[in-house]
């Protein structure tokens, strides 16, 4: 995360909402908190409660089951750190219809804005971990790294249309008053509704 970025999670998700067509959108943690107030599409899955880090894996399964449907996974850097091996799994299976949006704010936002070990302040080398380079090293060939809202506005549709797997790092400022996400309803019923939407649309 670059401390200088002015881009916010909400701004970025609003852009996604504007360019979104019929993609399935999986959101988790902070992205779920905000996406649930911006969108109520049948192909939204608010992944709350989650197993932290598993949104990319869930998205991979859906993308493999439905290769003609674009699947967009929205997750934070804290979640990514919980399941870094999934980057290798994603690139190995290489679903052409999967886009991962990584919202990199450098903190565990929903638990109290604790910095992650990928931030310079908590590292002996005082260097940020570079998620875009990590994705490339794991085998992603289409990687975007964006820290300005105008650039995201110009690139968002391309990120959803490009041949996947696509990995997009969106550098955002932490939301100091964000708090935790809430499940918008009974989990088991919501996931069955989502499955029905996936299989009928």
């Amino acid at each position: 995360m670059t401390a200088e970025t002015n881009m916010t999670l909400i701004d970025c998700l609003n852009v996604l909402k504007e360019v979104r067509r019929d993609e399935a959108v999986i959101s988790v943690m902070g992205t779920a908190r905000e996406w649930s107030s911006l969108s109520s599409h049948p192909l939204d899955f608010i992944y709350v409660p989650s197993s932290m880090g598993q949104a990319t894996s869930l998205g991979l399964g859906i993308a493999m089951a439905q290769p003609n449907r674009r699947v967009v996974v929205c997750q934070g850097d804290g979640s990514m750190l919980m399941n870094l091996g999934s980057l290798v799994t994603l690139s190995a299976h290489a679903p052409r219809n999967l886009t991962v949006l990584l919202f990199d704010n450098g903190v565990y936002e929903v638990t109290g804005i604790q910095k992650t070990l990928a931030t310079p302040e908590l590292r002996k080398d005082q260097q940020s971990v570079n998620y875009a380079e990590m994705a490339k090293a794991c085998g992603f060939s289409t990687v975007f790294e964006i820290d300005e809202l105008d650039t995201w506005k110009q690139s968002a549709r391309e990120c959803l249309d490009a041949e996947g797997p696509v990995f997009v790092v969106l550098k955002t400022a932490p939301m100091l008053d964000g708090g935790g996400p809430k499940s918008p309803g009974p989990a088991a019923q919501r996931i069955r509704d989502f499955a029905e939407a996936l299989q009928s649309q």
């Binding site: 399964g61 089951a65 439905q66 799994t89 996931i191 499955a195």
Partner: protein, 162 residues
């Protein structure tokens, strides 16, 4: 105890479309036969926690996956398992290799023997136990029973010698 062809035959009887998989020294012996099966797709993972979420995604998309991992991977993947089968109540099925059950020659005192079945019970997972060759058909029978009742389930397969 089983050949890859026997396992593929059982998976076909179950109607499995995807095997989300991390090999061990027993389960890995079946991979070639699974890869050769045109009607079954093998989805390798890097760590077992991924497997349950991938299987969940496949299930949501209309496929019939199962997860095949060693019991050590079951231990590792507890939260991912809990999330999909208990929070979301998805009737996912797993084939779990029971390390050292038939022989402790490689790992004397292996604590997998202590914890595997108590952990399956702690996660409220209905399991069948396959420890002799003639019990293989229990896997498909148990799978069908779990699917009919819309519940998750496990086939626990003893490992330790051929």
């Amino acid at each position: 105890m089983f050949t890859g062809q026997q396992i593929v035959g059982e998976f076909r009887r179950m109607g499995i479309t995807h095997v989300v998989f991390l090999p061990d020294s027993t389960l890995g012996l079946w991979e070639e036969a699974m890869n050769d099966a045109d009607d079954i797709e093998v989805v390798r993972v890097c760590r077992e926690g991924e497997a349950w979420a991938i299987a969940a995604g496949l299930y949501l998309g209309g496929k019939q996956p199962l997860v095949m991992i060693q019991c050590t991977g079951l231990f590792e993947s507890g939260d991912a398992l809990r999330n999909v089968v208990h929070d979301y109540k998805l009737p996912l099925f797993g084939v779990i290799g029971y390390r050292s059950y038939l022989s402790q020659a490689s790992i004397p005192g292996d604590t997998c023997l202590t914890f595997t079945e108590p952990i399956l019970k702690a996660w409220n997972l209905d399991y069948c136990f396959i420890d002799t060759p003639e019990k293989l058909n229990m896997m498909a029978d148990h799978y069908q029973s779990c699917q009919q009742s819309d519940q998750p389930g496990i086939a626990l397969i003893a490992e330790g010698k051929a």
